[in-house]
Symmetry: C2
Subunit: 299 residues, 2 copies
């Protein structure tokens, strides 16, 4: 059981993420809230009211302890001790043309010898820009392909299935990649997943900096702002009803403010809000479905 190397690496990356985003925003600064509980420690970094970023949370944690029955049932494994570390982040912009983005990388290890990685990045535009969607998926595919060209297609579909709002029959956004329980049994496998998750976590603020640069100064109407808030309502529905990380955090009496920092600042719900046929909003809704192949197959 040892995730210390990963933890040290992730903690550094958290710092890089925050400084890259501060630079891209120009105004907003991240707070530094360390927390310590019996289970371990963490560093929650939050930006509120930047010039383009409205609310950003970048959480790092490193926890360890007794492997209890709940975990055993959840993970289908027997062990007496676990250790885990990860970065989890969501960024919301005040500009409806800058998407919401989410990234998570995590390493979990048990004293029965099991050790695995999980994570992903997914994008939730309020207005889907197909060119941007293709670029986003291609960027993720390129990172995956460096390690193994069989990864992206599987992880892309996994994201489509995971980030799905069942009761709305729509995806949360345009997806991305999602993976879990990627087992590590050799030093080489550990290196590979350490590097791959680091590449993803490092690419994350760079991806967002480009989205901010391209869209963050675009002017928008009140109607477009309202649409953004309504789409954020869907994001809240996903996070509170389906997201396993959020559920696990709430049930395990985690650090509530760190867990729910993922929720957007301003949100709206409107009864039977339906965009006009042919509008930009209606076009976006049509693209919120599984199975769209945004990346080029021939990389």
């Amino acid at each position: 059981v040892n995730v210390s190397k990963t933890a040290a690496l992730y903690k550094n990356i958290q710092q890089t993420i925050c400084s890259t985003l501060e630079e891209a925003d120009g105004t907003g600064k991240f707070s530094l809230d360390t927390w310590e509980k019996e289970i371990g420690s963490g560093l929650t970094r939050v930006m509120q009211n930047g010039s383009i970023i409205e609310k950003a949370g970048v959480n790092f944690s490193h926890v360890k302890g007794d492997f209890n029955e709940n975990m055993a049932q959840l993970l289908g494994e027997n062990a007496t001790y676990f250790e885990a570390t990860g970065i989890s982040s969501i960024l919301h912009s005040n500009n409806p043309f800058v998407p919401t983005i989410h990234m998570n990388v995590r390493h979990f290890a048990l004293d029965n010898g099991s050790s695995w990685f999980g994570g992903g990045i997914d994008l939730t535009p309020m207005y889907v820009n197909p060119e941007e969607a293709r670029w986003f998926h291609q960027t993720l595919k390129d990172i995956c392909d460096k390690y193994d060209t069989s990864l992206y297609p599987v992880w892309k579909n996994w994201a489509d299935d995971y980030f799905y709002i069942e009761h709305r029959h729509e995806t949360r956004g345009i997806g991305g990649i999602f993976f879990d329980r990627i087992s590590i049994s050799t030093e080489a496998e550990l290196e590979k997943m350490l590097n791959l998750t680091s590449d993803l976590a490092n690419a994350y603020p760079v991806i967002y900096a480009k989205l901010m640069k391209d869209n963050g100064r675009k002017s928008f109407t009140e109607a477009e702002k309202k649409w953004q808030k309504i789409r954020r309502g869907r994001y809240v529905e996903f996070n509170l009803i389906y997201d396993r990380g959020t559920k696990f955090g709430l049930e395990s009496e985690g650090n509530i403010e760190s867990i729910l920092v993922s929720l957007p600042a301003e949100v709206e719900w409107a009864y039977q809000h339906k965009p006009e046929a042919g509008s930009n909003e209606a076009q976006t809704l049509e693209l919120l479905k599984k199975g769209i192949e945004w990346a080029k197959n021939n990389g």
Copy 2:
């Protein structure tokens, strides 16, 4: 299996609720959206943008069908056919000094002979006014006492336990009454619960009309409006994470727009928002806990 009498009564009461609220608001009007599915039919009535009421949903439904395994597990009973009817309503005001209120009455019957009522009313002030809280609870107690003085104390505690936001360690509001699986085996018991739930459902708009009259024209600051939106965030957390009615509705592929009309129009989440010690907001937080005896014991 017969809830037709209840359904006819409840449908009339829905009409009364809406007209009483329209009169109290003066401006807003309820829409009339009937829906029909294989499982049955309903009438969803929604007011948006009244002068005091910002968003109100008053749902009536009457459903019947095969009693499936999910229901059997959920209810711990065996049967082949069920019938159910109910009114479910939530009202949100644009004025932070007018509380949010919720009411539900329902009658469920199975072809194995089982038949029961459930329901309740609970109040969620953004600013708890103790005098108003006492009046609200006393009003509910008076209705219950007409039928049986042992009901209010039990149903009041039931509401404290049900409307509890576990991960925040706070109640949703100042509670009210909540009851479920109140079994009916004689005609007299049926009459009693029909009358009791009708009294509650009829009192509901009258209670709210008074709260609107007393508070709906009060002026408020931007900070008070922001506090209202943050408290509404807690309401959303409760409804999406804990509320059984919402969960059941989402899982059974119910009428999504009718189910989620309960969510407030404008909501905010702020990281680590803590009211100043001694402020009105802090005083309210101190009253969001179980076990406060608002009604007089000697009624």
